[in-house]
């Protein structure tokens, strides 16, 4: 391999990390086009040259789905971009998506050898580059499915967990149907993450490729109501079920004024825009309320997406209100940085206490308290404590709450014997099995709110476990059949 990269490690370390090409903030807040254009071929090549091609490629361990990062980077060095993306696809069927939304800085790039003394290899940007290159040059070749199996598997929910599980099982030859409650596919990728971070064109293409594996996707199907898990086994002939219904039920703060029109959960706000295209009203029928000043409560990815969306809908002041300090914000650094570039105001160490309305019952402001950081709490983060008498009012017309979500309870309530833990999270073992034989679960439903890649990891893991489960049952039945035919033989 060194033939491809003649540079000595010390020379490689001297090359600066390559940056994405980004749309200027003033332009991008005018619409929903993608913020980052990624890296071009030249930058990708330079970046790939930086990789030390470590014998002990720790980056691979840092990846929740174990992408063979070193090998795909080596394929980039050989200009075999299609080969590189196929290498990724062996472990991850949604490379164009993960290259955009994964927190690589906490995963592969966090452990990259080069990162110990220098900046880590921009693995995420390389992943995105090869996926985009393949797309632009139409190089996609669907994997060959060598074996067809008769057994049917039902996947509930079309988020990253469900789609990944479906893809893996389809590749093994199973007959897979995905059931999705909404009219569109993708889960949070569709209704939560905005276009400016994940263009719909890419999501559509990736989901089409999953359909291309023979996976059937049935939208408008709320499992638990349209049909239950028990019916899937007893009437529909499914051999196993994977639950990937996510953590879609939004929490509210429980402060006065929350029921005023103009107060949204981030889920509703983002769904109206991303799924229903309320930003294009009246060409699309779903409306959304806007105002010149918008406050978003929270500090995670969801809050960040909501506040940046509000800016794009025309808010002059889009303010993020978070009760801890910047250091504790769970959102990705990159997103916080992008938000600040776009003119988002961060109001840190601030906690809302009340939403105020006028006689017309429209929101006029949000009363907040200043906070100080006290002792660390159970999460290890310093606990915010209110400063007495520090109340003040921010003048806003729209308030969006992004203060966490929980699993939707419909499946749990309609599936007898399915064990759940705290906050309705479905309990799973290390193989994603639940308390019900043949029922597997993963993603946010089993984690209570995590990441796209962890959902995918669970989906993959579950596919392997489902395969084992079905094969062991096939074997059992085979044994029984042998025993019974054996008995007949003896009888005749």
């Amino acid at each position: 391999m060194t033939v491809l990269n003649p540079l000595k490690p010390s020379e490689r370390m001297k090359i600066p990390r390559q940056h994405s090409i980004e749309q200027p903030a003033s332009d991008r807040v005018q619409g929903f086009t993608e913020v980052s254009f990624g890296v071009d071929e030249e930058r990708a090549m330079i970046e790939a040259t930086r990789c030390l091609e470590c014998k002990n490629a720790v980056c691979v361990e840092g990846c929740p789905v174990g992408i063979d990062i070193r090998s795909f980077i080596q394929l980039i060095l050989q200009k075999d971009y299609a080969g590189a993306v196929n290498k990724i696809r062996e472990a991850n069927y949604l490379p164009a998506i993960c290259g955009r939304v994964c927190p690589q800085e906490e995963q592969c790039e966090a452990v990259c050898t080069l990162g110990k003394k220098h900046m880590p290899v921009a693995i995420g940007k390389l992943e995105r580059f090869v996926a985009d290159y393949e797309m632009e040059h139409n190089l996609f070749t669907p994997p060959v499915i060598t074996e067809r199996r008769d057994q049917k598997v039902a996947i509930v929910g079309s988020g990253p967990a469900g789609l990944t599980c479906a893809a893996e099982l389809a590749k093994m030859g199973y007959r897979v149907t995905v059931f999705e409650a909404l009219h569109a596919v993708g889960g949070v990728l569709r209704y939560g993450i905005p276009e400016f971070r994940l263009p719909r064109k890419i999501l559509d293409l990736e989901t089409d490729r999953i359909r291309g594996l023979g996976v059937e996707i049935q939208t408008n199907f709320l499992v638990g109501r349209t049909a239950t898990i028990d019916e899937f086994f007893e009437e529909w002939g499914f051999s196993a079920v994977f639950l990937g219904t996510g953590a879609g039920t939004p929490n509210f703060m429980g402060i006065p004024g929350e029921s005023l029109p103009g107060v949204y959960s981030a889920n509703e706000f983002l769904t109206r825009v991303n799924l229903m295209k309320a930003n294009k009203f009246p060409n699309f029928d779903t409306p959304i309320r806007m105002g010149s000043n918008v406050a978003v409560i929270g500090g995670g990815n969801t809050a960040m997406d909501a506040v940046r969306t509000a800016k794009r809908l025309g808010a002059e002041r889009a303010i993020l209100v978070y009760r801890r300090s910047r250091q504790e914000m769970p959102a990705r650094q990159e997103e916080i940085h992008h938000a600040e570039e776009e003119g988002i105001e961060l109001m840190l160490l601030t906690n809302p206490t009340r939403i105020l309305g006028n006689e017309n019952h429209t929101v006029t402001g949000m009363e907040c308290q200043r906070m100080e950081l006290g002792e660390p709490d159970e999460s290890g983060r310093r606990k915010p404590v209110a400063v007495k008498g520090s109340e003040f009012v921010i003048p806003v017309q729209i308030v969006i709450e992004a203060v966490g979500q929980q699993p939707n309870p419909i499946i749990q309530a309609t599936t007898p014997g399915l064990k759940t833990g705290k906050r309705g999270v479905v309990e799973t073992n290390e193989k994603q099995g639940t308390s019900r034989p043949g029922v597997f679960a993963g993603g946010d439903l089993a984690r209570g709110g995590a990441t796209v890649i962890l959902a995918m990891r669970d989906g993959k893991q579950a596919a392997v476990a489902i395969h084992e489960y079905i094969q062991s049952k096939v074997q059992d039945e085979g044994n029984k059949a042998i025993v019974s035919t054996g008995a007949e033989v003896v009888g005749t």
């Binding site: 409650a181 199907f221 709320l222 939004p250 929350e258 009203f281 309320r289």
Partner: protein
């Protein structure tokens, strides 16, 4: 796609649709609803499942054309298709034999009341039904309601049919009359009507169930847009309801929340008018 099998006009603004949706039809119970999206650019709106036919694989919806989406739907005919239908959603109505019950339907709410009335009758109740409408035109499903009621009272605001007045008039009579022995009241209609019914039954201490028509998006508990306040606690109408104890509902709050998009609705309506006007111009 969900094909419209047949359409019947019940009143100038109210149409009945039979739609092919076999899976929904198979599972639906009285009180359930569906969320539909008529066209690609359309809104998701909730509609009650009025009836179903297992053999034909159909469900029945009764729709009042009040805004863009419902007008669009009501302009459709047998042979057309609805893009999306998901359901059955919401909790089914708890049906039990109370002895004697009153079923109150106001306007298109009578359509939503009908399956419940039928189920209550089926459970052995003595059923007193009250159908209200602004005028004669808006009194719907009288025949159907009669078929599952022991007695039917009709009121119109303008007195053009039945007794002049509002549904609470005959209801008060019934509640005052110890012979009727009403143990539970089910009411579906405009929010002010359900509020008035609940206020009345509270006086008599009679348990009352109302169906809340909050504005919905997904209908699966994912957005919280349909939140209502019940006994001081936040509930999601789509998954915790749509029916709640009328004595615990904060009606004023819901009335306000349902006005959240008035300006937008007006705009959408005007746009629809323009569109239909221009399509008429093009037509020969």
């Amino acid at each position: 796609m969900f094909p419209i099998i047949s359409k019947e006009i019940l009143a100038p603004t109210i149409s009945k649709f039979v739609i092919h949706a076999p899976l929904v039809g198979k599972k639906r119970k009285a009180g359930n609803f569906v969320i539909i999206r008529v066209i690609e650019n359309g809104e998701r709106i909730p509609l009650t499942i009025v009836d179903s036919n297992l053999a034909e694989g159909t469900i029945t919806l009764i729709v009042q054309a009040i805004g863009k989406t419902t007008k669009l739907l009501c302009s459709m005919n047998a042979g057309d298709s609805i893009l999306d239908v998901v359901g059955p959603l919401g909790n089914p109505t708890p049906i039990e034999n109370h002895g004697s019950v009153a079923c109150v339907g106001g306007g298109v709410g009578t359509a939503e009341m009908y399956p419940i009335t039928k189920a209550l009758k089926g459970a052995g109740n003595r059923v007193f039904s009250i159908i209200g409408g602004r005028s004669r035109d808006l009194v719907i499903l009288e025949e159907e309601m009669r078929s599952c009621s022991d007695e039917v009272f009709i009121t119109t605001d303008d007195g053009s049919y039945g007794q002049k007045g509002i549904v609470t008039d005959p209801l008060r009579q019934l509640l005052m009359n110890s012979q009727s022995g009403i143990k539970a009241v089910y009411a579906i209609g405009p929010l002010p009507m359900m509020k008035a019914v609940s206020n009345l039954t509270r006086e008599f201490g009679v348990h009352t169930l109302v169906s809340l028509n909050a504005i919905m998006v997904d209908g699966t508990g994912m957005c919280g847009g349909c939140r209502v306040t019940i006994d001081g606690k936040m509930k999601f109408a789509c998954v915790d309801g749509p029916e709640f104890d009328g004595h615990q509902v904060d009606f004023d709050e819901l009335i306000l929340r349902n006005k959240s998009y008035l300006d937008f609705e007006r705009m959408a309506n005007e746009q629809l008018l323009k569109e239909t006007a221009s399509s008429h111009e093009v037509a020969p």
